[in-house]
Amino acid sequence: MNASGVWLVILGGMLVTFLIRFSFIGLLPADRLPSLVRSGLRFVAPAVLAAIIAPALLLPAGVLDLSLSNFQLLAGLAALAVAVRFRNLWLTIAVGLAVFWMLSAFGR
C-alpha cells in the first residue's frame, strides 16, 4: 500500500475507534437506555473479561486443548484459585507466571 493509503487507514481507524468509544459516553448516554439494559451494564466487565480469558487459556494455539501440556490453562487455573482465595492482583500474576515458567522450564 502506498503512503497516502497507509495514512488513510490510520486516520480512518482513529475516527472509527474514537466514535465507538465515544458512542454512549457522548452521543447516546446510558441514562436514555431502557432501565433493564442499564441494570445490565454492571455485567459488562465480568462478561468481556471472561470472553477474553477463556479462549486464551483453553485454545492457546487456536484449537481446544484440555491436556496437561497446556501450560497456559494450568497457570490460569492456579491464578484463578489464588484470585478467588486472596483477591490480590500482584499475587495472582506472580503465582500464575511462576507456574507457567516452571512448567515451561521443567514440564517437557
Partner: protein, 253 residues
C-alpha cells in the same frame, strides 16, 4: 490495591485540598494499572517491530499507536496492509473495536455529569485494560473524583503503549519473539474478573460469556468476543430479573 476507602470524601475541602485529592486519584489509577503493563509492554514492543517488518515508515508505525491506540486492531490492520484496500481495513478496525461500545455504555452513567472536555479524553483512552481497572473503581461508594482515577488508568496505559511501540520500532528485528509474558495479560484479567464479580448473576454472565467465546473462537475480527460479551450481559440481566421477581413473590406472599 484497589480499596473501598479511598480518601477525599469530606465535603468541606478547600480548592487546594480538592486538587491534591484529584492528583491522588490519578496516581491511584496509574498504580492500579501497573500490573497490566507487564502484559501490555511486550505487545507494544512486538507491534513496533512488526509494523516496520510490514514496510511502514517509523512515523506511520508510531502513528498507529498514537492515533488509533487499540492493540489488537492495530495488529490486524498492519497484517492487512499488504493486500487489502484501505476501506476494508478501516471497516475491520471498526468491527474489531466494537466491544469498546460496551465499555462506553458501562462508563456513560458515571460520566454523564462531566463536560465535553472530560468526555472526549476519557473516551479516547477507553481500552480493555483501562476499563477493566476503572470498572472496579466505580463499585466504590465515593465516586466524586472517580473520573480522575479513570484518567490515571488510561493515561498510564497510553504512555506505556507509546513508549513500548517506540522501543519496538527502535529495536526492530532485535525484539525477541516470545517473552513468556504472553500469558501475563490473561492472568491479570483473571484477577480483575474475580474482583469484578459480586453475585450469582455476575458469575452466570462470566461463565456464559467465557463458554460462548470458546465456541465462537473461529469467528474472525473478534466477533466471537463481542457476541459472547453481549450474550453474557443478557444472561446476567435475565438471572437478575428472575431473582428480583422471586424476591417480590416472596414478599407478596
Amino acid at each position: 490495591m484497589i480499596r473501598a476507602d479511598e480518601p477525599g470524601s469530606a465535603a468541606n475541602e478547600t480548592p487546594s485540598d480538592e486538587r491534591g485529592a484529584a492528583v491522588r486519584q490519578v496516581l491511584a489509577g496509574g498504580r492500579d494499572q501497573l500490573p497490566l503493563l507487564l502484559g501490555v509492554i511486550p505487545f507494544g514492543l512486538i507491534f513496533g517491530a512488526l509494523a516496520l517488518q510490514a514496510g511502514l515508515p517509523p512515523a506511520a508505525a508510531q502513528a498507529f499507536s498514537l492515533l488509533i491506540f487499540a492493540g489488537s486492531a492495530q495488529f490486524i490492520a498492519v497484517g492487512m496492509l499488504a493486500n487489502a484496500p484501505a476501506m476494508l481495513i478501516i471497516a475491520t478496525i471498526f468491527i474489531v473495536n466494537l466491544r469498546h461500545a460496551l465499555y462506553s455504555a458501562s462508563l456513560s452513567p458515571h460520566v454523564s455529569h462531566l463536560p465535553l472536555r472530560w468526555k472526549v479524553p476519557l473516551a479516547w483512552l477507553l481500552t480493555d485494560e483501562a476499563f477493566a481497572v476503572a470498572a472496579l473503581r466505580y463499585r466504590q461508594a465515593d465516586l466524586r473524583l472517580a473520573h480522575w482515577y479513570t484518567l490515571g488508568t488510561g493515561l498510564t496505559l497510553w504512555i506505556a503503549w507509546q513508549l513500548s511501540t517506540a522501543l519496538g520500532i527502535l529495536l526492530g528485528a532485535r525484539v525477541p519473539e516470545s517473552w513468556g509474558l504472553e500469558v501475563a495479560l490473561p492472568l491479570t484479567f483473571i484477577a480483575l474478573l474475580i474482583l469484578s464479580i459480586s453475585d450469582k448473576p455476575g458469575v452466570a454472565a462470566a461463565i456464559c460469556a467465557g463458554a460462548t467465546a470458546v465456541v465462537l473462537n473461529g469467528l474472525p475480527y473478534r466477533l466471537g468476543l463481542v457476541s459472547a460479551a453481549v450474550l453474557g450481559v443478557a444472561v446476567g440481566i435475565a438471572y437478575q430479573a428472575r431473582r428480583t421477581a422471586r424476591a417480590n413473590e416472596r414478599d407478596g406472599a
